[in-house]
Symmetry: C2
Subunit: 372 residues, 2 copies
């Protein structure tokens, strides 16, 4: 089946609510996703990973939509990545049966939820300390089903993860000794621009594991900014990218995507034109977020000379329009390209879908707010 037909089949099974036909008539602020662009992004990336012989495990934290997770899998992804248990539960409910949860599961309540999930779907998790492994092992034993655990490695991002390749081996051995869990491999979220360093860490860890008689069946890396670089992927068997489905202003600034590859914009209405070059939008930090991602401003409007949302308050966006660009009038709907698309999805109950240049309806953002 062609990618377009796969999308049409999934849309046919989706609960679309009517939202008018024209973007100009939408109630704003609201995120709008151009499905033609998103589909092209998905196909291009799946083809790229297929060519490299690397499995695709897209991160659904970007869109939080069952529809798009199903689309990613139907187009060839091995499974999905989730960041929180709440996302995993929502996606399991929607039939996504192969998931990697790249977050330490800690505490009795969350381990009980993991146990319930492990009984329903194939869910792998991560750990970076013996204490986390012990909790997972107990959950696995009590689920009556071994839980696959990947060792999270800190290859330079300074977030979670064991600090050295030797520590990765030691934790893998600890996982291997416990009943209720099996060692599944290595996971890292590398800092952008550290592919060589990450590769060295992972290769050394794999070698240590072999010496200890263990195999890293999965070596999972991720990150959107460097996704198109083939450097330093020798040890990597699986890639987790999230933002690529929509792209955003930060990825355009880094050269990872072009403006025409950006599928998500926030439709916003001009509510005031207090001075000649200033237009106030009805979308502030509660619609665009305050994520700067190293950029100036909180978003831009490509259709108006790339005018920048130079300031936000909670419900106002301050748009500065250059002298040579047309300033949108009060009542006009503009489309803001946000700095970072992922947290925008998380702010809205529903998202509007566009196909063939026309609004086709809105869908619920299934995993919105599932941060627990």
């Amino acid at each position: 089946m062609t990618a377009v037909r796969i999308l049409d089949r999934l849309l046919g099974a989706s609960e679309l609510h009517p939202a008018g036909r024209r973007i100009e008539d939408l109630e704003t602020p609201v995120p709008v996703v151009d499905l033609d662009i998103a589909l092209a992004n998905l196909v291009r990336w799946q083809d790229h990973l297929d060519g490299l012989g690397i499995a695709n495990r897209p991160h659904i934290k970007t869109h939080k939509l069952a529809l798009l997770a199903q689309l990613q899998v139907a187009l060839g992804a091995r499974g999905i990545t989730v960041q929180k248990l709440g996302e995993a539960e929502v996606m399991a409910e929607a039939g996504l049966a192969d998931q990697l949860l790249t977050f330490n599961v800690v505490g009795a309540a969350k381990l009980a939820r993991l146990k319930a999930l492990a009984r329903r779907i194939d869910i792998a998790v991560v750990a970076d300390s013996p204490g986390v492994v012990e909790g997972l092992a107990e959950a696995g034993r009590s689920a009556g089903r071994d839980i696959r655990v990947l060792v999270e490695c800190d290859t330079g991002a300074g977030r979670c993860g064991v600090q050295t390749p030797q520590a990765a081996r030691d934790l893998a051995l600890a996982i291997d000794r416990h009943s209720g869990v099996t060692f599944g491999g290595l996971m890292t979220y590398p800092k952008s621009g550290t592919r060589a360093r990450t590769a060295a860490f992972l290769e050394e860890a794999v070698a240590h594991l072999r010496q200890a008689g263990l195999e890293a069946r999965t070596v999972s890396s991720g990150g959107s900014p460097d996704m198109w670089s083939s450097e330093g992927l020798s040890a990597v068997s699986e890639y987790r990218a999230g933002t690529y489905i929509y792209n955003d202003r930060s990825l355009v600034a880094r050269g990872t995507a072009r403006v025409e590859d950006c599928a998500l914009t926030v439709a916003a209405t001009v509510v005031s034109r207090p001075t000649p070059g200033r237009a106030i939008l009805d979308s502030g930090s509660k619609a665009l977020t305050s994520d700067l991602m190293g950029l100036t401003g909180f978003g831009s409007v490509p259709a108006h000379g790339d005018a920048v949302v130079y300031e936000v308050s909670e419900e106002h966006g301050f748009l500065g329009v250059a002298d040579d660009a047309r300033v949108p009038a009060v009542g006009e709907v503009v489309r803001v390209l946000p700095n970072h698309c992922c947290p925008v999805s998380n702010l809205f109950d529903r998202i509007v879908l566009v196909k063939g240049g026309e609004v086709i309806g809105s869908v619920a953002v299934d995993a919105r707010g599932r941060s627990q």
Copy 2:
């Protein structure tokens, strides 16, 4: 009735869901509101405004809870302030019948919603251009009930608003000429630290209005950072503050509140301790937001030597703990004081309430996500 009994009565009528008894047992991340602190904040501010003879019209965008809006009114607030129509609708549903919507209502869909609201409750709105007034007038005529319109004045914040006192008078005259609307007064959201400049603008506008035969029955100012200063309020008849009910790290940094006056914290669990001084929390920008408010870091943990959340990704908070403070262990729940409490409320479906040091349950955040 004492303030405590008013709160108890409202709690008795609220739909509380069980959430355990101890903060350490909560599913995290989740915002926790200490009602004893919030109540003291409300009483102190109401007393202060009563002493000044200024009406209290608290902004509910901070908490988005019907319960707390009702509490504010029961304690003496004249009515409430809302920033978006969606908030107004939710609060009207909860019986809040005196509202000021401090946002230009623009476009056919939103004007139809305003018309429906104007039939149900006493709602005043703002305008800063003749085009906005025309839409409001049509809505008022079609509602069969005049809508009170305040002229929004830009007294230095550079957001919405007419630019001069003369322009305020001219727009007031335009409102006065239209059927369907009545001129209700002036509204400004002054930039922090510009009380004198704001006072000069408002006084001049009031004088111009008098000369034109119009009275500014309401002169509404707002803002939390300067709220305790009595300077420059001579023309002001009503004050809109929002953050004061909870307070936050930014107001502590500005000296507006003390840490012990902060009612909202985000309960977060330590999920990793990858290095001795680094603790990774399960609360990132999707729980704390990326609002910096001029501060360093995204929040702090007062109980651990004021340790700072020095970095966030979407679901991780990077907590740096000083050498002389105890580093919380994996599995421990800490309470993060966010930089800015208002957008935090907007990220969660439910919020946990604490009273007398005990968790008493959770309530739905009624107007969460109502940015349209």
